[in-house]
């Protein structure tokens, strides 16, 4: 058992994946010699060589497009997009090619890519460095989407993601890169990354969340105890496909649901979650499913980001509204 930051836990997970399968490649800007701008790929080029850990030219579309070709050849590329806001030059390759290749080829061609993207805000960054674009990818058929919320999950989820034969967009909450926790390196790499986790059990209301907002919700639940509220927190972990069973069971128990994520509210993934809960848990709901998210604006100047992002107070405000319905 070691106490690792999330960045380090991902590093260890990548290392394990590369040791296990010689077809695994890592490619992206500054991932090799520098070890990544967040040091997630630190030391890997030194140990696995430049042919497997590749510093690419500065072109996101090029990274993903060439990864498609490598995948067709039988490799298992792990692509890094340096920041969430820079994925859009690659969006066409991801949506038009990566997501559809298996479908187009009637199953002959697999796209076992993992596209790692640091995402989310709350780090006082400049434009394009704090986005939450997960909805676009969850909405795209043919892709699977995962997101870890803490170091142990980072370690265990990245490995089956890489091993998965479907293309996975793997979102890493950058504001949690420096969170530390105990990580058991012996946890089986086959541990499921597709199930949601009840991060905190409760009875009053369910907070459904993922990625950077999980810790926010756990903090909110802790603070809510003094208000006599016993909140359950469900960490989705997988955004596509979603583990509906865990979600529905929780909502049927607590009868109140609040979905929390950083993404701008309008037409976000939270909306799909709310709709589906309403459909499947209708007779259990004492209040409509509420959503807490970013304002429906572009990510603002960082000096106001704390008001843009869902924080403890906003989460609990939503809980109060749900309970008071």
């Amino acid at each position: 058992m070691a106490t690792l930051t999330m960045a380090k836990a991902l590093n260890e997970g990548l290392r394990s994946a590369m040791e296990r399968d010689p077809k695994v490649l890592i490619m992206g800007e500054d991932v090799g010699r520098l070890g990544g701008v967040f040091r997630v790929t630190d030391g890997l080029q030194k140990d696995f060589g430049e042919d497997r850990v590749i510093d690419t030219p500065l072109a996101e579309s090029g990274i993903i497009g060439t990864a498609v070709g490598l995948a067709i050849r039988g490799f298992r590329p792990v692509c890094e997009i340096q920041f969430d806001g820079f994925v859009f030059p690659a969006f066409d390759q991801i949506v038009s090619q990566v997501a559809r290749m298996h479908y187009r080829s009637a199953g002959h061609v697999k796209m076992p890519l993992t596209i790692r993207i640091p995402y989310g805000g709350g780090i006082g960054a400049v434009e394009h460095h704090s986005e939450s674009p997960e909805t676009y990818f969850a909405h795209t058929a043919g892709l699977k989407v995962l997101t870890c919320s803490h170091p142990a999950d980072a370690f265990t989820m990245i490995q089956p993601a890489i091993a998965c034969d479907d293309p996975i967009v793997f979102f890493e909450p950058k504001r949690r890169y420096w969170d530390k926790a105990d990580v058991d390196p012996d946890v089986a790499a086959s541990a499921s990354c597709w199930s949601a986790e009840v991060a905190r059990e409760g009875t009053t209301a369910t907070l459904i969340t993922y990625g950077p907002s999980v810790r926010t919700c756990l903090d909110a639940a802790a603070a809510a105890e003094s208000d006599g509220q016993d909140l359950e927190v469900v960490d989705l972990r997988a955004l596509s496909p979603i583990d509906w069973e865990t979600v529905f069971a929780s909502v049927r128990k607590t009868q109140h649901a609040v979905v929390v994520s950083e993404a701008p509210l309008f037409a976000s993934l939270a909306a799909e979650i709310a709709a589906r809960i309403t459909e499947h848990c209708f007779y259990s709901l004492e209040a409509p499913v509420l959503r807490v998210g970013g304002a429906s604006t572009p990510y603002p100047a960082s000096r106001v980001e704390e008001d843009f992002l869902p924080d403890l107070d906003r989460v609990l405000d939503a809980v109060d509204r749900a309970l008071g319905w």
Binding site: E29, L58, F88, P89, H129, L265, P300
Partner: protein, 366 residues
Amino acid sequence: MTEALLPQPSEGPDFVQLLTPEGERVEHPDYSLDVTDDEVRGLYRDLVLVRRIDTEATALQRQGELGLWASLLGQEAAQVGAGRSLSEGDFAFPTYREHGVAYCKGVDPVTLLGLFRGTSQGGWDPQDHGFALYTIVIGSQTLHATGYAMGMQRDGGSGAVMAFFGDGASSQGDVNEAFVWASVFNAPVVFFCQNNQWAISEPLEKQTRIPLYQRAQGFGFPGVRVDGNDVLAVLAVTRAALARARDGDGPLLIEAYTYRMGAHTTSDDPTRYRLAAELETWKLKDPIERVKAYLSRRGAGDAEFFAAVDAESDALAAHVRAGCLALPDPDPLTMFDHVYAGGSSLLDEEREQMSTYLASFAEAAR
């Protein structure tokens, strides 16, 4: 996959230089420059002030007053040379590092700080000084520049456009598409590439097999490489390129061969990927030292002059510092402003909800 696959330019027709690193005037067959002592003194002053803006902003970042700063240290001559070639009717499309070009275009450096302090996303009007907003997504601005130039072609504008980008950006699809557009439409755009040798940790060899200025030929327009640390050479080459564009002769690629003396941004640690020896080599090619040496040697700049420039740079630094600290924290509700030109009822509603929500607290959070 090793370094030094590209020949290091030092002299010859493929490398325009008019002032050596030691401060000696030299000639180039294709580019000449008639410049007075007064003008050179002015350029020296520009270089010193631009560097001082940059070092002050870097210090402010280290002191927590800016979240980030992208330093142009070492690239002053490239930016001042290009900036001083742009005339009133010309338009500049920068990346996020062209603080020297901004200065030359008359933009108050404090205007640039909001973006890095996190109090705005930029927020200036490009038409104020013919200087577009900083573009952080790599290379996008080259297409914008080309489109703007195409606009000038269509509405009788007599100016030209200069698109700034770096060596790393030359790999981006957008930049190559801009080359295509500019060439087939014969647009009056000068592509000014500051090849500072590094894209964060990736050296030039990761982006190209040939010298960057030669890329232009493949697209059908001329390319020229200039000593980016030589303000006189940059001035000469950019003047010629802009005149050519204004005359309707189409695009041109300038590769300003320079060096990123600092980190990519203040979040970067260059000691992890490049050798100190390389830095030392480039210190010997400092853009300001050579001008100082030139002025001193020919008696065009004395101690009094240099001291006056230093004093002026101190004052400018103080202005930058004070301006930075005085930048107001925006009201949270401003996040809803300007999302749409035509307004949005959804956002009006969200603004209202946030306003009510914020007012419901006994104390403000921040």
